[in-house]
């Protein structure tokens, strides 16, 4: 599926792209607000500065995806694979990242205000300058606390619930 096809589908009102295989698709600056991309394969996809508000990425494969400056407010990223993804300057305000896989992800200057990061794996992630106010890391079961091992928290703001 080419980006044009995808955007035409979206423009015609289609929202459900569950399980689609869209590896490497270039949707930079695209507006696909509210789409359902559950379980989709979006490895290496390009979403630079795209509008992804409230998109459902549950269990999607976003490994090495380019999400710099993407607007992911209130997006559902539970259990999504975001390993090595580029989320530089992305806005993830109120996003649901429970159990998301974020090892080595770049979250520099990302907006994680009120994001739910319970049980997320952030080992080796770059959180320089990221805003984490009100973000939730707490897990009732101690065993599943968010993994921040090796994460770079320079200039990252605290006041989160950890």
């Amino acid at each position: 599926m080419t980006p044009q096809d995808f955007l035409e589908c979206y423009a015609s009102g289609k929202r459900n792209f569950k399980g689609f295989s869209l590896a490497g698709i270039d949707l930079s600056k695209a507006d696909i607000i509210g789409s359902n991309l559950q379980l989709a394969n979006l490895e290496n996809a390009i979403f630079t500065l795209a509008y992804l508000t409230r998109v459902n990425f549950r269990r999607a494969n976003l490994a090495r995806a380019q999400l710099a400056g993407a607007n992911l407010n209130q997006a559902n990223l539970t259990q999504a694979n975001l390993s090595d993804a580029n989320l530089h300057g992305a806005s993830l305000q109120g996003a649901d990242l429970r159990s998301a896989q974020l090892p080595l992800a770049d979250l520099m200057d990302a907006n994680l205000i009120e994001a739910d990061l319970r049980n997320a794996d952030m080992s080796g992630a770059n959180l320089t300058g990221a805003c984490l106010r009100g973000a939730n890391f707490r897990q009732e079961d101690r065993k599943y606390i968010a993994n921040l091992r090796g994460a770079n928290l320079r200039q990252a703001s605290s006041k989160c619930r950890c």
């Binding site: 400056g69 607007n71 300057g89 520099m108 300058g129 805003c131």
Partner: protein, 540 residues
């Protein structure tokens, strides 16, 4: 063919300045440049070359050309170039004087700090097929002064006032160095060096000359004052020559006045002394008379004095007398008070005191004939909004309350700007030792709340792109640009921006311009708005 010869010359110059000829319109060329500065420099050079060519050619063997310069987005499509930016440039060209260059405000704002352009503000122009009016400036043809091109914009209607001073002013207006002439006259008269053309534009030459003449009653005294000022500047020799030009123009004024010196002057001087005493008494009744004294002292000495012993040496009446010498008109008084107050950390409090002072001084200015016998029509220069920008380049003073002795004018010395580097004029940062400062200005050491605010209201990456473009060069999304963006955190960029934009209005204009220079204008304007709102409380 003449046109062919000229277009070839223009294209050649375009290449020299790193520009590209996009298309020919038959009798014109459309060119693009990577930098607005290069575009303006190129257009000036082109007009200069064409003027020289015309000089050496026989009559009727030369053409005059108009040039319009604008900064905006263009779209390349099928060998053609489209976009509003192109249309505006074309329309501006039509508004230019033959042999001159018409530049939009956007271009002017971008280049003014880098090149010394002698441009006249044309106001917002209604351009054909362009919805919004476009503010523009006219650069006069090579070898002409700005006022010759647009006489209707000059302050004084020609031919109504033929006093010797008016003739001198008219002569000076025609001089090629008018900008420097005005700067030197303003500087000598106000005792403060001013480079901002917006501020200078608010003062007409004739009233300035009248006041200068009033202060220096002999040519020798004026000569000394001008030369003392010029000697302090970094472009000393250039300004000494400018001083000569001014003296030459004013010489007839002094010779004529010698014959008609009146005795009435002395009489009014003594009645003035009574008035000074009255004002001093009014001010002495104020509870805050010590601070009033400090403020008056600062107007006279351009330095802040906290030492009570020093202040005690001056009576209020003396201070009032001296201030009136420095500020013979109400506009001058406001100018000087504002200049001082802007530098104080207890800004609001002193603004109140300045009001009290202005009120007390008001009777002095009420009847200009008595207060200043030689001046027939005292100017009341409009103190418009532009005045608040007077010290645009100054560093804000947020010390702990210690009087610091750094430059009064921290204006940039590079870029050919003239600034004073003597210690006598450019002295202290005014910073009274009086309790904790009214801490309304947010602390720049901790930018956490600021970042939070920016992120809440705009996309962090977009904010970063806009800030990086502002402090560096417009972001073009090359891999190199992305690497640079990644090497700087939002925190770093905000700090650099604070250093780069010394005042809030500076920040505002730079961000607004940059919003139009990098892709996706609408989003950028939104981001710029969020950044401005968040950063505003951090500026004094």
């Amino acid at each position: 063919m003449l046109i062919q010869r000229d277009l070839e010359l223009i294209a050649e110059q375009c290449e020299c300045f790193g520009g590209k000829v996009l298309k020919s319109t038959g009798d014109g060329l459309l060119m693009s440049f990577y930098s607005a500065v290069q575009a303006v420099l190129c257009s000036q050079e082109v007009q200069k070359q064409l003027a020289k060519l015309a000089e050496s050619s026989a009559a009727g063997e030369s053409l005059q050309h108009r040039i319009g310069v604008h900064l905006g987005d263009v779209l390349f499509r099928h060998q053609d170039v489209l976009g509003n930016g192109v249309n505006i440039a074309a329309r501006l060209q039509a508004k230019s004087a033959p042999g001159g260059v018409c530049i939009s405000q956007t271009v002017y704002d971008v280049v003014k700090a880098r090149i010394d352009i002698n441009a006249t503000f044309l106001g917002p122009l209604k351009l054909k097929n362009i919805q919004e009016p476009v503010a523009a400036f006219q650069i006069p043809p090579f070898g002409q002064s700005a006022t010759m091109v647009v006489p209707q914009l000059a302050g004084q209607p020609v031919g109504t006032d033929l006093s010797p001073l008016a003739i001198a002013a008219a002569t000076l207006e025609q001089a090629p160095q008018i900008r420097r002439i005005k700067k030197l006259i303003f500087g000598t008269y106000q005792g403060v060096w001013e480079n901002d053309p917006k501020v200078l534009m608010q003062f007409d030459l004739l009233p300035l000359l009248k006041q200068l003449y009033q202060r220096h009653r002999t040519l020798i005294s004026l000569e000394k004052a001008l030369q003392t000022m010029a000697a302090r500047l970094n472009h000393k020799s250039a300004y000494l020559a400018v001083a000569d030009t001014i003296l030459q123009a004013l010489e007839p004024v002094y010779t004529e006045a010698e014959d008609s010196a009146s005795d009435g002057e002395v009489a009014s001087r003594s009645s003035l002394r009574d008035r000074y005493n009255e004002i001093a008494e009014t001010l002495a009744q104020q509870t805050d008379r010590l601070r009033i004294k400090k403020l008056l002292y600062a107007v006279i000495h351009t330095a802040w004095e906290n030492d009570q012993a020093v202040l005690a040496l001056h009576t209020l009446a003396d201070l009032v007398t001296d201030v009136h010498q420095i500020a013979p008109s109400e506009a001058d008084l406001s100018y000087h008070l504002e200049r001082i107050i802007k530098r104080l950390n207890r800004h609001n409090h002193y603004a109140q005191l300045a009001l009290i002072i202005s009120e007390a001084f008001h009777p002095l200015y009420g009847s200009p004939a008595e207060a200043a016998p030689m001046v027939t029509e005292l100017s009341a220069e409009p103190l418009a909004d532009g005045h608040t920008m007077m010290f645009g380049s100054d560093k804000p003073v947020i010390d702990e309350g210690l009087t610091s002795l750094t430059g009064w004018q921290s204006s940039v010395l590079s870029d050919g700007q003239t600034s004073v580097h003597s210690s006598q004029l450019a002295i202290a940062n005014v910073c009274p030792i009086e309790g904790p400062q009214d801490a309304k200005i947010h602390d720049r050491a901790n930018l956490y709340a600021l970042r939070l605010e920016i992120m809440r209201y705009t996309n962090p990456l977009r904010a970063k792109i806009l800030l990086l473009s502002t402090v560096r060069s417009p972001f073009t999304a090359t891999p190199q640009d992305w690497l640079t963006l990644k090497s700087k955190s939002l925190d770093d960029l905000i700090k650099t921006t604070f250093q780069y934009c010394q005042t809030f209005s500076d920040l505002e204009s730079k961000l607004t311009i940059m919003s139009h220079c990098v892709g996706n204008v609408g989003e950028n304007i939104q981001a710029a708005g969020a950044i401005l709102q968040a950063m505003k409380p951090f500026y004094p």
